[in-house]
């Protein structure tokens, strides 16, 4: 079965997360993705100032740490690697030759980087008129903030996301896992797929200017309309909910084990009472209606915690779901990898990597019935495909390749 993006060639200049994730989604569905990397060794995850040893097999960096980072290997499966120095004229020439035979270029640098390389959209368009370029800087390609650097959760703050999360009555709270990069990558891929359709209809390429901040603000459009309707700044409400009760996170037996329970209707409340064995307190007037339960939420939470803390989180989840109550265990990373539901759906994948070993990863959440994603290639070693790309795709001979190496244009 032909994958949807077979025949599309993508150059991935992405660093860290947002750019590489965008290219990963295209790679999983058949695009040929070539990472053009610097020769200095993937500083994103192997910078000595910020290195996270838990991200390496057995916490050992090894002699080639850039090939052993878990995050890198996770975000770059199914891709090829070409090491070029884009500040070197000969390196630039190779890059332009590659653009001439490609369909899409993705970068998430601040805007001045591609301009400084002399490789901005105008230049690439002259090389390949119907090229599609996705640029995804923190705040977009124009405006006052254009050159301000950003990182996932600082962009989330400016985009209005941080302000909404926190314990009641306290300062805002940063999320544990940043989702800003993911939102930006997904908006980027969405626009790329529209641009590919547009190119099929009109033969023209284009430049996509994606502000990561604007991407994030688009997911709180509802809250911003609420503000305009009510003129009230949103309140942080911790684990409560304005119209569900009980709604919270409850301790279970075992170390750091929890469940989330969210009761939206009287039927679900009755289901919860039944699952708990209809203890007497559930008949008290202060818990008899939603309004009452919202008012006495703290007391209600205490009763529920007393019940959950004797049970395992999975057991509470299964029992409450059996009774029609929305409830979920708070899974940690290991529990997700071992989760039977995810396994049965083929979400957890296993990929052997020559320098990092055989490991399990999250697969793609895009499950297509007829043209499913394929996972066969591990993340590339740094510069692994230099020879094959230069020779087979760009028709360089050995002498020309050696000259590039001599000029320090190729790693």
């Amino acid at each position: 079965m032909m994958l949807p993006l077979e025949g599309i060639r993508v150059i991935d200049l992405g660093r860290v997360w947002a750019g590489p994730l965008a290219a990963l989604i295209l790679a999983d569905f058949g695009a040929e993705v070539i990472k053009v990397e610097t020769m200095s060794g993937r500083g994103d995850f192997t910078n000595p100032e910020t290195i996270v040893v838990e991200d390496f097999p057995e916490k050992e960096l090894g002699s080639h740490p850039w090939n052993r980072s878990g995050i890198f290997n996770d975000l770059n499966r199914n891709k090829k690697s070409l090491t070029l120095d884009l500040s070197n004229p000969a390196g630039k020439d190779v890059f332009k030759k590659l653009v001439a035979v490609s369909d899409v270029v993705i970068d998430n640098y601040t805007p001045r980087v591609m301009i400084n390389f002399g490789l901005d959209y105008g230049v690439l368009k002259a090389v390949k008129p119907n090229i599609i370029m996705l640029s995804m800087p923190a705040y977009g390609m124009s405006g006052h903030y254009r050159d301000i650097p950003g990182f996932g959760n600082t962009i989330e703050s400016v985009a209005g996301i941080t302000n909404l999360t926190g314990y009641a009555g306290e300062a805002p709270h940063l999320p544990g896992m940043i989702t800003g990069d993911v939102i930006a990558a997904l908006h980027g891929v969405s626009a790329l797929l529209v641009a590919l359709q547009h190119r099929r209809l009109t033969e023209t390429g284009q430049h996509i200017d994606l502000s990561q901040a604007e991407a994030q603000t688009s997911i709180i459009g509802k809250e911003l309309i609420e503000y305009q309707l009510t003129k009230q700044e949103p309140e942080r409400i911790g684990n409560n909910h304005p119209c569900m009760s009980p709604h919270g996170c409850y301790k279970c037996s075992g170390e750091d084990k929890w469940v989330a329970i969210a009761v939206a209707s009287e039927v679900e409340w009755e289901g919860l009472c039944k699952a708990m064995g209809n203890p007497d307190w559930t008949n008290e007037a202060r818990f008899s209606t939603l309004t009452q339960r919202l008012r006495h939420q703290k007391d209600l939470d205490k009763f529920i915690s007393k019940w959950t803390e004797k049970m395992e989180h999975i057991e509470v989840m299964e029992l409450l779901q059996f009774h029609g109550v929305p409830c979920g265990a708070l899974f940690n990373g290991r529990e997700l990898l071992d989760n039977e539901h995810l396994k049965q759906r083929g979400f957890i994948i296993e990929i052997p990597h020559p320098e990092a070993g055989v490991h399990r990863y999250a697969g793609t959440p895009v499950k297509l019935s007829e043209t499913p994603a394929q996972f066969y290639l591990p993340a590339p070693l740094l510069g692994e495909h230099n020879q094959i790309i230069l020779k087979q795709l760009l028709n360089f001979n050995d002498d020309e390749i050696n000259e590039l190496i001599r000029l320090k244009a190729l790693g």
């Binding site: 838990e54 405006g143 600082t154 209005g160 940063l174 759906r345 499950k367």
Partner: protein, 383 residues
């Protein structure tokens, strides 16, 4: 700039939840005709959720518990490219929504299902809410204070990430249809969308037998947190702990030469002191002043924007991010626009429809019902 690219696509949206509605909204704004199917008697509730999620859509009412309604639905499906729905398998069988029978009359149909846990597997009929999928996708375990109870996200993040994956899945299925002429099912699970939105969480157990836990983001060798300013909060991520920048920001030359903070390894031993210094001094500075100065120094920093800040933000205004929509029920308001500015593709914005607003257009002009038949259907509560 040409017309909106997806203008030849016809889409039906049924019980899609926030995630499916967001997916359909982006399709509509890129030009597709999205018809939202609503129960007869639905009233426009004026909620911010409907106002935002239903822009650029059409609405018809239809009763899917009535034979004639089901007949109308099947006729609509036979002339549609994509059905976006949010029913789990047991809800589907309740209303007789069966993928095989739908595709029998329309083999080119793409069915995009967005549910808590997907169409297969032991959890497929589990109930979900934004908090429940945030928990089961592994994100809630990481949010909150290290010693405290895990904390829910203040927004429905699982819904929006899933909505975007649903959009991508739908367009990939349409790409595949260009090649092989057939539709297919796109099965999106919110739990999986969140589980795929991690760094470290799933690789640590595999690579080094470690567990990432609250407060979540690892590996910082410099202060990285929210600090209270004169008028709100800033998010300082001084990864390289540029002490010279702090000395400039606080106008304290002595900080730049303070040996406790100069070298990375020394700084790690004096983190508390550094944090106290920042806490004590930054309270006197406005949040946007900190952000602006950090930007000049290329330090990574954000200010915590409130809705009022956002709606007047100079960067957003300069880039014309907001789109003004005049909705009959609310008057003019600013809506978040399309974040991806495409140089060649237009996008559409118009206010959310009232339930049934497009009944006549779809039932009479498209399906050929007469005015009398339309009235009759209303009387029989079919629409």
């Amino acid at each position: 700039m040409s017309e909106a690219t997806l203008k030849n696509l016809r889409i039906l949206e049924l019980n899609a939840g926030i995630a499916g509605a967001y997916c359909a909204k982006i399709l509509a704004q890129r030009g597709a005709e999205v018809i939202k199917l609503e129960a007869p008697g639905s009233k426009f509730n004026g909620s911010a959720e409907n106002l935002y999620l239903d822009t650029a859509k059409k609405s018809i009412t239809i009763n899917l518990r009535n034979e004639m309604g089901i007949g109308m639905f099947q006729r609509l499906v036979s002339m549609t490219d994509v059905l976006i729905e949010g029913c789990n398998p047991s809800e589907k069988s309740e209303i007789g929504l069966d993928a095989n029978s739908l595709t029998q009359n329309n083999p080119r149909l793409v069915i995009t299902s967005v549910t808590g846990f997907g169409q297969t597997g032991p959890y497929s009929n589990y109930k979900d809410t934004p908090m429940v999928s945030y928990a089961m996708g592994g994100q809630m375990y990481l949010c909150g204070d290290a010693e405290g109870t895990p904390l829910n996200s203040g927004l429905a993040v699982s819904e929006y990430i899933s909505g975007l994956y649903a959009f991508i899945g739908t367009l990939l299925a349409l790409e595949a249809r260009e090649k092989n002429g057939r539709g297919q099912q796109v099965d999106i699970s919110k739990m999986e969308c969140l589980a795929a939105s991690h760094q470290y969480t799933l690789t640590w157990p595999e690579y080094s037998n470690s567990i990432l836990s609250r407060p979540g983001w690892p590996g910082d060798h410099a202060p990285q947190s929210l600090f209270r300013c004169k008028d709100g909060y800033v998010n300082l991520r001084l990864q390289n702990a540029d002490i010279a920048f702090l000395s400039y920001l606080f106008d304290m030359p002595e900080v730049a030469s303070d040996e406790r903070f100069a070298a990375t390894h020394e700084r790690a031993n004096h983190m508390k002191e550094l944090e106290k210094l920042i806490t004590d001094k930054i309270i006197n500075i406005g949040k946007k002043d900190v952000f602006r100065k950090a930007g000049e120094w290329r330090e990574i920093c954000g200010f915590v924007a409130t809705p009022a800040d956002l709606l007047t933000n100079e960067q957003y205004n300069e880039r014309e991010y907001w789109t003004k929509i005049n909705h009959g029920m609310t008057g003019v308001m600013s809506y978040s626009g399309m974040p991806a500015k495409m140089s060649e593709c237009a996008w559409l914005s118009s206010g959310a429809p009232l339930p049934g607003e497009n009944n006549q257009e779809i039932y009479c002009d498209r399906l050929g019902l007469t005015w009398q038949e339309l009235k009759q259907m209303q009387e029989w509560s079919v629409i």
